[in-house]
Symmetry: C2
DNA sequence: ACAACTGATTGTATTATGCAACTGGTATGG
DNA sequence: CCATACCAGTTGCATAATACAATCAGTTGT
């Protein structure tokens, strides 16, 4: 546990935890794809993470308190990974990263529609999403409301499906 | 130039460019420390980057259009690195990363005071800072005003100095 | 009993990083 | 005009991180 930090700069310390090509993608899948099991995270993403890297990153994120882990009551070997409050609060960073990438990089339409809605929704939508994530991941908070349907994630997912359906139809017609 | 991307997700594409432990620190120093030369970037930061890593990252950021490079008229071998519009627009991401790190990680007071002011200043302050960065880095924009004194960077720097001065006095008294 | 699935681990090859020394060229002061 | 310091990098080498495929032991459903 004797960690040596390069400096006390908040940006540097954050990069020491999240500054690699996989950590944020894992959190992205937990956050937007609601993937909570090792196998879902391993095979669910487009990018194809290796199992040893996934295991290593989950361990590190766990040690840093960005995610938590508990047993799945339905299966003795299943573990459920959840975001902690720290993890949930990464959402605005994802929103900005998504907006930046969408503006300047060769994104695909179907994978950037969520980023677009999140950017258009602004901080109010982020706050709503974070409340839903807290309910799903960090457990009950006092005075908590059952999340109104549709949730933000459902909205984003529906938009993704709409794009995919249209694209499939276009491909068929062509 | 035949780059293979892992996916068309905006978050993934952004991480493919900026997802390492150094790229964002270099941009941070250019943005907040106004370091524009190789040597300034090499020796100016607390974290101590190696010269070959710096050279490699500058090359990559240049290729990705996040920074630009031009000759320094005052010295035939000097190069001046500048942020492009893409680079300037990373500022909100830095603001959020700084805020997150400040909240959850063991930051030092003097190196997090800038993040605090930037968080408190909110999007309006970010926009002002980005306008100043555009003037300094990407050249004149139509209808541009000479930046009002003090600039945002000067404000941040002054706050840093205040903390450092107080800390030095406290250390002397103790 | 057995196949499929669970969260991982192991071995090996490749790539990235860290560190120090070094390069060719440029300004500067005496 | 020469020594010195400075400039943006490059090179060689050791170590660390990552990628990929195969494998593991325990669990579950059939």
């Amino acid at each position: 546990m004797n960690e040596r930090h390069r400096s006390g700069c908040p940006i540097n310390l954050t990069l020491e935890i999240l500054g690699d090509k996989w950590s944020l993608l894992i959190i992205r899948d937990m956050m937007f794809g609601n993937r909570r099991h090792f196998r879902e995270l391993l095979h669910g993403s487009e990018e194809g993470i290796a199992s040893n890297i996934l295991a290593d990153r989950l361990k590190r994120l766990l040690a840093q308190g960005v995610i938590s882990k508990r047993d799945d009551p339905s299966h003795k070997q299943k573990a459920i990974y959840s975001l902690t409050e720290r993890g949930v609060e990464l959402l605005p960073i994802f929103a900005h990263i998504g907006a930046w990438g969408r503006r300047y990089l060769p994104v695909s339409e179907e994978l950037s529609i969520r980023a677009q809605l999140l950017e258009e929704g602004g901080p109010a939508m982020w706050e709503r999403f974070m409340q839903e994530l807290r309910a799903e991941h960090v457990g009950a908070t006092p005075g908590e409301q059952p999340p109104a349907a549709p949730t933000v994630r459902e909205e984003l997912q529906a938009a993704y499906q709409t794009v995919m359906t249209r694209k499939a139809k276009e491909a068929q017609e062509a």
